[in-house]
């Protein structure tokens, strides 16, 4: 752009000074962000870190001019892109800057891409809008950028639709779209959160590499300190709309000054499993699963589906008072195994033995009395509780199914609320009045109300902020010990698995590829897939507490 002053060439790509954005009336605080100041230099990756509600996304969207101005109004401060103030620019002007000077990639590449348009054409569209290149030159540029983001066979993928690509490939297409005009600033809003760890590692490496080669300034928004350790040059820590700490990555990660930063980093579970003493010895078997198979999709009268072998001959033993981790990426079959064990779906074959009874063989009516022995805590705390029923009703539903009188069930529910760290009075309230972590506590209380032998926890902390995550993990471990529960803990997060599991089983494409005590598997993974998984864990070896005892 000709009007950008020469000073901008040497100055920072992005300069945010005292930026304050107001929230609409009736919100829980007057400002979404308040007095936010930081810069992004050429060729620098600045990670903006914070938990949900910290204002990190609002900051990014304000810079891009993508916030609804009526609801989120910038009331103070300044945003300079290449030295030029962009906060009050008219929409047409902003639209030109977006794409040419600054671009953004999002968390969910599937929704950010147009599902009915070929990906090559979507990238070409950016060129069509912003340049006067001819069709052939456009195509060349698109293929070049597709090669640049290392999409395999760009010639072929040019004509593919988004749904034909993997999650990682879709994110690469998004990055290609963002970078095709060579913008000075790239804003990445949690671009790897929806991806598997191994894919995440590749995308992070790609961003790092592209940014180095092109000298792009990157504002990288994340909640994950592992990712920060992986990629950041500088770190901006945000809490409740304010910047609480800014500094070079090394400095912030290893010598955090602000207590909130310290808490956030401390809450990231270490990859080094803690030593577990005094919990060994012969234990009573709680659950035995033998040869569990699940095949999805079978043709019926009116439908013919594709067949997916989601679980292949899975065998596992779970002892009282033990936590067994089922680790794997999406599509590995770990959740299928859990759902089969609970008989939420019917296993194709195999045995599920509790107290010598094979649950897999029981008919629905015969199964019901045995259901109480296995309970589950789900991933999504917002969908785990019926929004139209009070917490109390949800908790006593199970016991009352088994003939416990209402008063007795309520008395026990009050007790359990205390166990999970909530006020008994909360039983009268509805789920929407609680935060995610609190809801997860309620779900744990609901499961405990059944006095189960086995607790299946299906990614119970994946949807929670790290600080809350640590507390919920602590609670799960506490109730396991207190009630002698056998816990089947399903997770994609190696850090979480390392902290809470006594043994882990690694699943890949429906099969258990490795099994053993947590400490052994983490120290000395045998299977190539496990090794790849371990190597991909974000922040491995860069976060201080990963080194301790390592």
């Amino acid at each position: 752009m000709t009007e950008s002053p020469p000073a901008a060439r040497s100055g920072p790509v992005l300069e945010i000074r005292d930026l304050t954005v107001s929230l609409p009336k009736g919100a829980d605080r007057p400002f979404a962000i308040e007095g936010v100041s930081f810069t992004v230099a050429r060729g620098e990756i600045v990670c903006v870190v914070g938990e949900s509600g910290s204002g990190k996304s609002v900051t990014a969207f304000t810079v891009m001019g993508l916030v609804p101005r009526r609801e989120l109004r910038p009331v103070r401060g300044e945003v300079r892109l290449l030295g030029r103030s962009i906060l009050g620019l008219p929409e047409a002007e902003l639209r030109r800057l977006r794409g040419e000077r600054m671009a953004m990639i999002f968390q969910e590449p599937m929704t950010a891409l147009n599902p009915v348009m070929r990906v090559g054409e979507q990238i070409a569209e950016v060129l069509e809008i912003h340049t006067d290149l001819g069709p052939r030159e456009r195509r060349e540029r698109v293929l070049a950028v597709m090669r640049d983001v290392r999409l395999p066979e760009p010639e072929r993928l040019y004509h593919a639709y988004p749904h034909q690509l993997s999650g990682g490939q879709r994110q690469r297409v998004m990055i290609a779209m963002a970078l095709v005009l060579d913008p000075a600033l790239l804003i990445a809003d949690e671009p790897t959160t929806a991806l598997d760890v191994t894919t995440q590692a590749q995308i992070l490496e790609l961003i790092r590499d592209l940014q180095r080669r092109r000298g792009t300034g990157v504002m990288f928004i994340t909640h994950d300190f592992g990712v920060v350790a992986e990629i950041a040059d500088r770190v901006v820590v945000m809490q409740e709309g304010r910047v609480v700490e800014v500094g070079p990555a090394e400095e912030v990660l290893h010598r955090p000054r602000h207590p909130y930063t310290r808490m956030l980093i401390g809450a990231v579970p270490s990859l080094v499993p803690p030593e577990r003493r005094g919990e060994d010895g012969p234990r009573e078997r709680a659950l035995l699963v033998r040869g569990l198979d699940k095949v999805y999709g079978r043709s019926g009268w009116f439908a013919r589906g594709r067949v997916v072998h989601a679980a292949k001959s899975v065998t596992l033993t779970l002892h009282r008072g033990e936590t067994l981790g089922l680790v794997g990426e999406s599509g590995s079959g770990k959740t299928t195994v859990a759902r089969c064990i609970l008989r939420l779906v019917e296993a194709s074959s195999g045995e599920i033995l509790i107290d010598g009874v094979d649950l897999a063989k029981l008919r629905a009516s015969a199964l019901r009395p045995h259901r109480r022995h296995i309970q589950i805590v789900f991933q999504d705390p917002y969908r785990s509780l019926n929004p139209r029923r009070t917490v109390g009703q949800s908790i006593i539903e199970g016991p009352m199914n088994f003939g416990v009188p209402r008063a007795e069930a309520l008395r026990r529910a009050r007790e359990l609320m205390r166990v999970v760290g909530l006020a008994p009075e909360a039983l009268e309230r509805y789920p929407h009045q609680f935060s995610g972590g609190q809801r997860q506590r309620i779900c744990i209380a609901r499961a405990l109300a059944m006095e189960p032998k086995v607790l299946v926890a299906d990614e119970p902390v994946s949807a929670l902020d790290v600080s809350v995550q640590a507390q919920v993990l602590e609670l799960l471990d506490e109730v396991r010990r207190r009630f002698g529960l056998a816990m089947l803990f399903i997770t994609h997060d190696l850090r979480v698995a390392a902290q809470i599991c006594h043994r882990v089983m690694v699943m890949w494409q429906g099969e258990v590829v490795e099994e053993g005590p947590t400490a052994r598997v983490f120290r000395d993974p045998n299977h190539p897939y496990t090794q790849r998984l371990m190597a991909a864990a974000p922040g491995r070896g860069r976060l201080l507490h990963d080194r301790i005892g390592g």
């Binding site: 829980d28 509600g53 019926g300 009268w301 009116f302 609970l342 939420l344 019901r368 009395p369 259901r371 109480r372 296995i374 309970q375 589950i376 789900f378 991933q379 999504d380 969908r383 785990s384 509780l385 019926n386 929004p387 139209r388 029923r389 949800s394 539903e397 199970g398 199914n401 088994f402 760290g421 909530l422 006020a423 009075e425 909360a426 309230r429 509805y430 929407h432 009045q433 609680f434 935060s435 972590g437 609190q438 506590r441 779900c443 609901r446 499961a447 059944m450 809350v468 507390q471 602590e474 609670l475």
Partner: protein, 298 residues
């Protein structure tokens, strides 16, 4: 731990982080929608007219050959028809028929559709069978079915209602089934299954409440279109017995005199249009406030 417990108590007092769900004051929320308010007001007026109007307007059947085909005047605000009957009285009485048909069709279609939809959505074995029958029903043109039914069993109010209900049922079944299919995958339903809750209770406690909002919306559309269909049937001479002054029947009779006395068709037509408009406006407004997919965006 202790800190989180304090936070828990605090948030429970403050009402939590996002209290945006329309749980407690559904009524107030719904009435705050302008479409619902004005549509509802118009509908209330129509219902009031239908209920108490005939008491003031005199006999809709009284024939007066001296006053045939009179244009609107002080004595006959809507004019008279070819038998000298007071059109105002007939249109007011006709409101009863239209609204009764609209209400009855909506209630029957929703009730039957709800049961079938729940079964189709929850009992996998019956799903395909029920849905193929519904596909079959949807392939039958409503008006033709009505004419066929009426020619078989005679023109009564009941036959007309049944004839209009049948093609509406598949739409309700599809709607309910889709809600059930979504809700049955919700973790809270699975938690209830894992806690040994029996199927009827799962349906009543966890599934049914989720169908209420979309069904209310659907019901308003069904009653609107039922009133139209009833009038079309009357107009075609295939509806309610011609001696009963439904709006369709009045218009049908007025057809012959249309060029001479347009008011015979005009007034029942306006009444019908207003009523259907009111019902559909309420339906649109309800959809905006009750449908979570739209409401969340606003």
């Amino acid at each position: 731990m202790a800190r989180d417990r304090d936070l828990a108590l605090e948030a429970a007092d403050a009402g939590g982080e996002e209290a945006a769900r329309p749980e407690p004051s559904l009524w107030r929320l719904v009435l705050a929608n302008r479409a619902v308010f004005w549509g509802g007001l118009l509908l209330v007026v129509m219902v009031a007219v239908a209920l108490v109007g005939p008491a003031f307007t005199g006999d809709p059947m009284a024939i007066n050959p001296i006053q045939r085909l009179k244009p609107p005047s002080a004595a006959f605000p809507f004019g008279t028809d070819f038998l000298g009957r007071d059109l105002l009285a007939r249109v007011v009485y006709g409101a009863r028929i239209s609204l009764a048909v609209g209400l009855a069709v909506a209630v029957i279609a929703i009730s039957v559709g709800l049961v079938l939809g729940m079964i189709a959505g929850y009992v996998r074995a019956l799903d395909a069978v029920v849905m193929r029958v519904m596909d079959g029903l949807m392939a039958i043109p409503g008006i033709l079915l009505a004419i066929a039914l009426i020619s078989l069993s005679g023109a009564t109010l009941l036959t007309v209602i049944v004839a209009i209900v049948i093609p509406e049922i598949p739409r309700v079944v599809r709607l309910v089934r889709s809600v059930v299919l979504t809700v049955r995958e919700e973790p809270y339903v699975e938690a209830a299954i894992a806690a040994g809750t029996r199927l009827p209770w799962i349906l009543i406690r966890h599934v049914l409440p989720n169908t209420v909002a979309p069904l209310i919306v659907q019901a308003s559309y069904i009653s609107g279109s039922a009133m139209l269909t009833e009038s079309i049937l009357g107009f075609l001479g295939a509806g309610i017995p011609p001696e009963i002054p439904s709006w369709g029947n009045i218009m049908s009779e007025g057809r012959t005199y249309f060029q001479l006395s347009p008011w015979i068709i005009f007034f029942p037509g306006v009444a019908l249009a207003l009523t259907v408009l009111a019902v559909n406006t309420v339906g649109d407004g309800l959809r905006d406030t009750l449908d979570p997919r739209i409401a969340r965006k606003m």
